[in-house]
Amino acid sequence: MYTIEGVAAGILMIVTAYLVVSTTTVLTPQDVHIIDMQLQQLGNDALAMMDTPDNYGPYSPLTYMIMTNNSSSFRQEFLSFVNNATNIDTSGNDRDRLNYTASFTYWNVTNQPNTISFGGSTYYRENAVKVTRWVYLPPFNPTGYPADMNSNTNQTVLLEVLLWRE
């Protein structure tokens, strides 16, 4: 009697192990990481390219946008970068549907870090990733600066962008 139970238990274990291991539809954490990684790579690419001047010499578009506090230009260019597609996939959408909310952190006149919003949409707890970039600002004094920014000296501000797919 015990022998039969032992045989049955062995077979049961083998079958169970096989079924579990061979299932391909298991949503492993790696799947989610790859989607996150794609978004993060895209966001980092977009910020890096916005922080690259088109011509030799001047500051990058991103530097100018932050110096003049021009969040609408940032929105236009950032969404253009991350949402454009090559249109080679005619079966799907020709544009992606990514959205963002941004902020940057700077030193204020009392040498305290201060964070200010830099435009974007409202975040409703979608599955999002955060991309960051240190942006160099020269000692410049345009009107667009946050009023309490220490703008007499060059500094690097931390731009943080929360990015998600709608």
Binding site: G10, V21, I88, S91
Partner: protein, 344 residues
């Protein structure tokens, strides 16, 4: 064995049934343990695998200049030069990821089917791309597409059509493409005191290489164009076009424009027609030096050359023109683009 004075359940002996059952259990366990490595093959989910390959491919494409770094100058009709291309990266320099070189893009997307492709100056689709970009033992299918987001139209694609009902690995990258501009225009006007019958244009490579790679005029890797515009009333007969080394140590080494018959070479045209000296010039003389020409002659980034155009009549009173970032207009600019890699 029964021991006098002890009862059965205190003997410490295993029953035969239990031993058999336990043995079968252990055999099953060992069997599963041995099989588990084979069964784990199924865990290589296609999505994960293809996404990883697509990402790796995109990294090679947009974060690496390739091997050799100036592979776009190779003449692919020569088997040795085709074989020397080890990796197809598109960046201008290893220190500038995501900044792509237009010449590399054009060469990369110039492909043809395997039948007879080895006799053409283009990559074989898909073999060359699999062995020089995607790598791996599995014969992945792929589609790589590029679209410019700037003013210059730049729509390119290579690979198979995207499958409608098969999942594929996908990565999208944002890049900037260096649009090389390297045309120097020299206006020549009829003046009473013209005293030079030879125009000399000096190109100091080390001056050009002083700028970082994304904004550089690259005489070794791009076409250089020089246009002599003749003003109204000025005509002359051109008799010689040559490139000479500078500085002149001893006898200068000069190469005439017809030194090479095939590209890369020095191309001269007069008023839009091919150059046959001596030839009357009424509008312009255009000199285009193909990318890779200076390397073919044996120059490197520390050399300097003079381009000399000799006329019968006097055409200028300036003894020397400099080809540099002040005289070339417009200069290289970067334009954004999006590149998508699909692998399945």
């Amino acid at each position: 064995m029964r021991v006098p004075g002890k009862i059965d359940h205190e003997e410490g002996l295993l029953s035969l049934d239990f031993i058999i059952g336990f043995t079968i259990f252990m055999i099953a366990l060992i069997f599963v343990a041995i099989m588990i490595s084979g069964l784990l093959v199924h865990l290589q989910s296609r999505t994960i695998d293809y996404d990883a390959v697509a990402y790796r491919t995109s990294v090679v494409l947009v974060e690496d200049p390739g091997e050799p770094k100036d592979w776009h100058l190779n003449n692919l009709t020569i088997p040795a030069e085709r074989d020397s291309v080890k990796r197809l990266g598109l960046t201008v320099d290893k220190n500038y990821p995501d900044i792509l070189k237009l010449n590399k893009i054009n060469k990369f997307f110039n492909n043809s089917t395997p039948l007879g492709c080895y006799s053409l100056d283009s990559f074989c689709n898909p073999d060359d791309y699999r062995s020089r970009l995607i790598f791996g033992d599995y014969p992945y299918r792929f589609n790589i597409s590029l679209k410019g987001l700037g003013q210059t139209p730049l729509d390119k694609t290579v690979g198979d059509p995207i499958p409608a009902h098969t999942s594929y690995g996908f990565v999208k990258r944002i890049v900037k493409v260096q649009m090389p501009n390297s045309t120097m225009k020299i206006p020549l006007t009829p003046e009473p005191d013209l005293n030079q019958n030879e125009t000399v244009i000096r190109i100091d490579f080390s001056d050009l290489y002083a700028r970082p790679a994304p904004y550089r005029i690259d005489p070794l890797g791009e076409n250089l164009t020089i246009v002599l515009n003749f003003g109204v009333g000025l005509t002359a007969n051109i008799t010689r076009a040559q490139i000479c080394t500078y500085p002149l140590v001893g006898v200068p080494g000069c190469v005439l424009e017809d030194a090479y018959e095939n590209a890369p070479r020095m191309n001269v045209s007069v008023d839009g027609n091919s150059y046959i000296p001596p030839q009357l010039v009424t509008n312009n003389v255009t000199v285009i030096i193909d990318d890779g020409y200076f390397q073919r002659v044996g120059f490197d980034r520390f050399d300097a050359v003079d381009i000399k155009l000799k006329f019968v009549q006097n055409v200028t009173n300036q003894s020397l023109f400099y080809y540099n970032y002040t005289t070339v207009n417009p200069l290289p600019v970067l334009e954004p683009a999006v590149i998508e890699v699909r692998v399945w």
